[in-house]
Structure formats: C-alpha cells, structure tokens
Symmetry: C2
Subunit: 141 residues, 2 copies
Amino acid sequence: MTESIESYALDEQVGYLLRLANQRHASIFQSHTLEGLTPTQFAALIRIAELGKCSQNRLGRLAAMDVATIKGVVDRLRQKGLTVVEPDPDDKRRTLISLSPEGEALVSQMKDVGQKITNETLKPLTAAEQRNLIRILRKIS
Amino acid sequence: MTESIESYALDEQVGYLLRLANQRHASIFQSHTLEGLTPTQFAALIRIAELGKCSQNRLGRLAAMDVATIKGVVDRLRQKGLTVVEPDPDDKRRTLISLSPEGEALVSQMKDVGQKITNETLKPLTAAEQRNLIRILRKIS
DNA sequence: CTTTGTTTATTATAATACGAACAATTAAAT
DNA sequence: ATTTAATTGTTCGTATTATAATAAACAAAG
C-alpha cells in the first residue's frame, strides 16, 4: 500500500484540470489579443458578427453568457467603440446590438489571431489528441 | 461553397469549449457541495490537507492561485471556521495556514462528494474518453 | 379588456482571477 | 556590514460569472 489512503487526487479531478487549462489558455490569449480584448469579449464579438443585429439577451444565450454577464461585456465593447447599441423599434424591451465599422475591422483581424491562439494552446498535443480534445469537450459542454 | 467564407468556428475553438465545460462543471459542483463551498475553496482545502501547515503564498502556488486570489480564498475559509491562520515564528513575513478540526471533518466528507461531482461531469463520456480527457488536460495544463 | 404569465433588461451582491504597486522582511552579494 | 535582490503578504483596479430581485413591456387566454 504505497498509495495514499486518502484516495482523492486533486491533480486528476476534471474540475481542477479544467481550471488549469483555462488559466493557460487565458494567458496565451492575453499575449496575442488586440485592443486588450478578453476571451469573453472576443467570443461575444464573433457571435455578433455571425448573427448580425440581435438583442442583448439572445446574444448572451448564443454566446453562453448570463444576462448579467452579457450586459457587462456589451457595455465594455460599446465603450471601446466596437459595437453599436440601439433600441428595438418593434419591441421597447429590447436593445439591439451590432458591430461598428471598427468592430467589423477588428473581427477580421482577430480571426487569424484566434487561430494562432488555439494552435499555441494545443501545441503540447499530437494532431490526434487535438481532434480528440475538441470532440470530447463538445460532448461535455 | 455551402460553408461560411469566414472560416472561423467559435464553437470549435478550444478556449470557448473550455469555458463551456467549466460552466457545466461549476453548475454540477454547486448542486452537490456542502457549506456553500466553491470549487476554488474546495481545491485549496484539499491542498492544505495534503500539505499540512504551510505559508499562504506556497499554498497559492500549489493550488494554482494568484497571491491576490489565495488571500481572498483563505480569508473566506477562515470566516467559515475551516482553517486556522497564525504568524510564522521563524519568518515574520509569513502566515501559516492549517485546517481546523471542522475543516478536517469537512475534507473527508468532501472527498466522496468530489468523486460524485467528477463522475457526473464525465457522465456523457465513455470510460476510454474519460481517461483520455484527463490525460490530455494534464498535458496542456 | 383584463388578468396572467413570459421575456427583456437592469441592478446588487458575492466569488473568482490577474496585474500592478507597495511595505516589510529575509537572503544574497560584494 | 552594507547594499542589492528576492520573497511575502496586502491592497487596488478591472473583468468575468452566477444568483436573485426588480421593473418594464409584450403575449396569451379568458
């Protein structure tokens, strides 16, 4: 019985490892990103580019962000001049979000950078492991 | 050309998927945890149990937490009565952290719960995929 | 039309998480 | 011994994330 009786290894728990992987990715992201964009802001920007003009709540749902989270993200993107916010004439509850010209320009630049960030994050893995990780993460997300 | 010319699929980027996986795990964690413990607080508690009495900065390094983060975590654990904080007589800079009796008791309970949380998080995967995910995450962490 | 229920957005609170700056202390170098 | 460098802990600022509560507007049903 050379192993610990405790039988709980923190370093092999998926939650702990996900936190570490996230930390490493965030660090790589930060060393590449433009305009001080965060991963969350980046994801929101890409989604707006995909969706076109859409409401704030819908954007949050499709970018996997809470209503409170997406509000803060949209506020910061607007402050940076990357998005345009306007009231929906057809529904007074809604706020419509879209990309500003500066936002559009940044998105095209960020797509290349995004690929570099992904590649560097996956660098320690073989090609098969990289595909495997993406596939498995999609299954548990 | 049915595919998008944009050629950047957010839903296949490792950073975005890691964020989603983390969200799912945090949600499962919260539905199981005792004393309102968060995943971060849980990890710190386990590390203290493994290390025994140690300084705050050392604990932070071994639990993958920033000095500012570990301070907040230790403060909240102390407020809950789970840890004991005392000055190091040999080094006036250091603060020594250890488990209180309540902390020790909680750790043994939390190890079972922790295993349940891991199992539920990995549930959508086959046994081979589960081992694979852990192995791959360890490689990129 | 009015009641009921849902959706949308905002606000507040709490807990990470990191960088940067700071003072106090210890260690190392000369 | 004195200067220099490194470590430790604290604090501040900014960002993300969730929950809960609130208010306004819309939709559906009677």
